[in-house]
């Protein structure tokens, strides 16, 4: 039985849809972002309560149990995940959403004879499955369960084309006959397409792919709304699909890449260039005391934090070192590359967590001219975002990405774990320059040693 009449149901769905719009708008500005997210959550709550009150539902205890299980698994993980691992968690949540949309569409197939509805069903199946499998691969790449390098094999474009052709054929048959076995086949083909789509993408580009798959899931949800005749799903899914597309383009622009180049670059063989040249050239390695002397007698120091700093949980030590240097009258800034960490804005989150004051975080455009006046650029666990190959080597996977101009500083110090190349898998020529010295070790340990040595000066 239903407690709400259809007018109230529609009104409540409208309220939820407006909440989602306000949520996205709020999330676009730092001042209102947190409130925006809460508004979104409130909209979701309204929508879920509405569906329970307005539809004639069987199996309610089972449904509640499934909701309880989903929440019990997801909420603690979301609450406890390290901020460094947050990108892969977002990928995972995105994937399961796409999977849910595909399953909903599959189950609705037997309820309709309308070819137009079946068209929406095959779209949801395919896109949802692509998003599910693609997100799984991005998760594996970010968690480093598999190689972060682009995975390509000679027949890849042909296999991809064959899978897509088969999917289109199966989709056409499902639209005209409503065949459930072929719909299941379509689901499998969608999973294969999702895996093939993400395999050739290099590690550094994975965040952009997450954003793209996020938009895909939005579109799948919108299509499932057309299947079920549910306006809220149509509006919410379309909003995410549209805003996700814009966001994907903005992220790609911040990295100086095009979305097509990221997805299909490896197909053309361009993305693997430069990654095989392992150098035997000598580097100048240095001790914590040497680094402390360099820093302690400088006038201006710019710290470039990268993912390695975050992995080592060294943000707090970096903040302390900055404080110790400032107490010696040295001007210290943090140079934040737009894609430092693993996602655009990720490093801002991590340094904010370590209470680094807002004023000392400088964005790339602001800080780049200032490297010329810096005595020391201290690069902590960053590599690709300071790699001059982005400017000089046209075949490099990061070619065209704007970088922090640390080479302009009088001295460059890298705190690195090893000579292993960065996430994009490319050699960094800057490491072999005469003004560069390296201190090997875990970022946090190295920073602590340098901090101790600075205090002893």
């Amino acid at each position: 039985m239903s407690l709400l009449d259809p007018v109230w149901t529609s009104l409540l769905y409208l309220v939820a849809a407006v909440f989602f719009i306000l949520a996205l708008r709020g999330l676009s500005s730092p001042r209102t972002a947190r409130r925006g997210n809460l508004i979104g959550a409130a909209g979701a709550l309204i929508a879920v309560l509405t569906v329970f009150l307005s539809s004639r539902l069987e199996n309610i205890p089972w449904i509640l149990a499934a909701i309880a299980v989903g929440s019990a698994v997801a909420a603690p993980v979301a609450r406890r995940v390290k901020m460094t691992q947050m990108p892969q968690l977002v990928a995972l949540f995105n994937g399961v959403g796409g999977g849910a949309a595909a399953l909903v569409a599959l189950l609705e197939l037997s309820h309709t004879g309308d070819p137009w509805v079946r068209l929406a069903i095959v779209f949801t199946l395919l896109v949802g499955a692509v998003s599910f499998a693609g997100s799984g691969v991005t998760f594996a790449k970010l968690q480093e369960l598999m190689t972060t390098r682009p995975v390509v094999f000679p027949g890849l474009p042909a296999v991809m084309a064959a899978v897509l052709l088969a999917a289109v054929a199966a989709a056409a048959v499902v639209v005209f006959t409503g065949s459930l076995p072929l719909a299941s086949l379509l689901l499998v083909l969608g999973l294969a397409a999702g895996i093939l789509l993400v395999l050739p993408v290099g590690g550094a580009d994975v965040p952009i792919v997450i954003s793209l798959l996020n938009a895909f899931t939005g579109l799948a949800v919108a299509a499932s709304g057309l299947v079920l005749g549910n306006v809220l799903l149509v509006v919410a899914g379309t909003l995410v699909g549209a805003s996700g597309t814009i966001l994907t383009r903005a992220m790609a622009a911040a990295m100086g890449r095009s979305v097509a180049g990221i997805l299909f670059g490896a197909f053309r063989g361009g993305s693997t260039a430069g990654s095989t040249a392992v150098s035997e050239r000598p580097v100048r390695s240095s001790s914590a005391e040497d680094v402390a002397v360099l820093l302690g007698y400088a006038q201006r120091v710019i710290i470039v934090p990268g993912y390695g700093l975050a992995v080592a949980q060294g943000q707090h030590t970096a903040a302390e070192l900055a404080l110790a240097l400032e107490s010696r009258g040295i001007e210290v800034d943090f140079a934040i590359h737009p894609v430092a960490g693993r996602m655009p804005g990720h490093m801002n989150v991590l340094l904010a967590e370590a209470n680094v004051p807002y004023e000392s975080l400088k964005e790339m455009g602001e800080i780049n001219p200032e490297f010329k006046t810096a005595d020391v650029a201290l690069v902590v666990g960053a590599n690709d975002v300071v790699n001059p190959a982005a400017k000089t080597s046209a075949g490099s996977p990061i070619y065209g990405m704007p970088i922090l101009e640390v080479a302009d500083a009088r001295q460059v110090v890298f705190l690195k774990r090893s000579m292993r190349p960065g996430f994009a898998g490319i050699e960094n020529d800057l490491l072999y320059e005469p003004q560069t010295s390296l201190l090997f070790g875990d970022a946090k340990d190295s920073l602590a040693q340098v901090l101790g040595a600075v205090k002893a000066l």
């Binding site: 996205l24 947190r34 997210n37 989903g70 997801a74 189950l107 799903l233 903005a250 209470n355 004023e359």
Partner: protein
Amino acid sequence: MDGMSLLTITVLAVFVGFEVVSKVSSTLHTPLMSGANAIHGIILVGAIIVAGQAADPWVLAVALLAVGLATANLVGGFVVTDRMLHMFHARKAVGAKEAPRKADGR
């Protein structure tokens, strides 16, 4: 609802989606993506409807799987976004000390 109305709503939603995020700074790309990710977890509503109509145990099982996955997307998405933004909030408190009230005015 008829097809034409749904199409109208869809097209309008596309433009709203483009508009609301058109001027976002790169600092907020990650939380915004995560928040949008949570919003598509609303597929939970669809999963609940399908599960609520299921008569066959197998259909119910698949539908309940969809409900569980959608819930994980929805709940996990909002929680992780809130955690990210909580840190921005702490930083704002340092950065915007001079104008604490005015910041909420808009």
